[in-house]
Symmetry: C2
Subunit: 309 residues, 2 copies
């Protein structure tokens, strides 16, 4: 199937208890695209970078089968830059620098060749831009998933709710679900948020795994227990990319297949955090991914069929 | 099989954001015994209460098939009393009152009829008392599991390590595992703690589920996402009781069967937190438990067998 990702392609500078990086390649669109490239799809991206963005990085995305027609390169402008520092527990971070640059006036132009796309993944961007993408697709995609963050809940709640009402799957973390719903209990939060429109809600809990809610069903995908979480940057986007990449490649949106997609996303995210930025994700093979998925099977599956009385 | 539980039978007074109780029945031994009584075993308890402990409560434990020969009733003395207040997130609590009373001079006398017991569950007590029980059993049980808490790590680390060295399974929570090992990563912590003696380590993470480590294997049992956690008191003991009760009833200590035991423990714990104290646990039937285990199957299991290429 075809999968369109809309999301930032950016520079990050990251500090963790394990060290710090110079400007490295990051951005939601990059992580989603990389993760989704492990699955056979006709993959496209809508994004924007400045003239400072390295051409060889764009070529490496193209080599992974990502159609970059919708990636705008703004002459005379600079790429979006984010810098952050993680605390010792790796569960919280401070933003040190945010330079919007090309994102400030980002107009998500959809190339004609992108029309008719089957699956749409809206990475974290302003809800207005996310909504515009949906509106500009002449035919509604079969499945639309959307990420967002607390920042937009603080400054653009109404536009955010308008966009949320248009998507099938909302993918947010536990704190965002609590803020958006006003409920501490994630079960209660999931009902309130799904009443806003999305039939499916994924709540990411970082090292504590991720929940998928739909109707009366709940599925829980664990996170793989790791010796070290080296850098959590991009783990959520990688999860989303693996989830949508797998779904699109199978063309099957049944709940049972979404369970598999959750495990694929979790497996890719478990690689992502093992090194800085996209380094680990860019280095692994399909065989590495398959082996890790087997680890998830051992970690989470059990067979209750055992007769006692 | 036969299962011996050693643990407090006590009074608790609990405050949560949902309300507060007068003195109600609690104690690790009570929760473990109640939970284990859902499985067919020859169940015994070693514990101590004062003359203020209600006879009808002891009778209700007996009616559940628990042999109380090893439960001492101290004339002229008072039962152990604990009072605590949970914070809004239910993940942390303050102890308001601890009156050791009969526990202060508790000598865990093993009735002759208890000798030869197959499974031993040591609820949280001083490591000296826990160690004494092991020493007083003429024949080592097939499987010994032990709970403890940070309090004993603070004031009795060396005796604690001596007792830990004698058991097969240590069952503690994430913060206790971090304190005992000095490692934040639970994977690293599990290696250090298992090097102290226990071949198996269970790390309970409250609403985030529980991990079982053994050799190179890890299993993760999720917690059931609940609308409300009403009162977490006793959930960890209930988990341990369900885990050991199921294991003993099957007589099978394979890793695959321990996975099932983890799910049984988690299912019983999910009931425990739905009302104050032992109220919910005392009211459910085997059918309720079976239905909840089916919920865990839906929550956690997935089938990756789906051919794509």
């Amino acid at each position: 199937m075809s999968l369109l990702t809309v999301g930032s392609v950016a520079f990050d500078a990251i500090e963790t208890p394990f060290g710090k990086t110079d400007k490295i390649i990051g951005g939601a669109g990059t992580y989603i695209g990389l993760a989704a490239s492990f699955y056979k799809n006709d993959q496209k991206i809508v994004s924007v970078v400045g003239e400072d963005f390295p051409k060889e990085m764009l070529e490496s995305l193209e080599k992974r089968g990502i159609d970059l027609q919708g990636l705008q390169i703004k002459e005379g402008e600079k790429t979006f830059f984010w810098s952050g520092r993680y605390h010792n527990d790796m569960n919280s971070r401070d933003t040190l620098v945010t330079e919007l640059n090309v994102l400030e006036s980002f107009d998500p132009i959809i190339p004609d060749s992108y029309q008719g796309v089957d699956y749409l993944m809206l990475g974290n961007l302003s809800p207005q831009v996310q909504g515009l993408v949906i509106d500009r697709l002449v035919e509604r995609p079969k499945l639309i998933a959307m990420d967002t963050m607390n920042f937009w809940m603080d400054i653009a709640l109404e536009p955010l709710k308008e966009t949320i009402a248009k998507v099938d799957i909302l993918i947010i973390n536990d704190e965002e679900a609590r803020q958006l719903s006003g409920e501490y209990s994630l079960v209660k939060a999931s009902k309130i948020i799904r009443a806003m429109g999305p039939k499916y809600l994924i709540i990411k809990k970082g090292e504590h795994g991720a929940l998928l809610f739909h109707g009366d069903k709940v599925f829980f995908a664990p996170a793989l227990p790791l010796e070290d979480v080296f850098d959590p940057t991009g783990a959520g986007d990688t999860f989303a990319g693996g989830f949508m990449g797998y779904l699109a490649s199978t063309g099957d949106t049944s709940f049972d297949n979404m369970k598999r997609a959750m495990i694929h996303g979790s497996a890719l995210a478990s690689f992502c955090v093992e090194k800085f930025g996209t380094e680990r994700l860019a280095a692994i093979t399909k065989e590495d991914l398959d082996a890790r998925i087997e680890e998830f099977v051992g970690l989470a599956n059990f067979d209750m069929e055992y007769v006692i009385d």
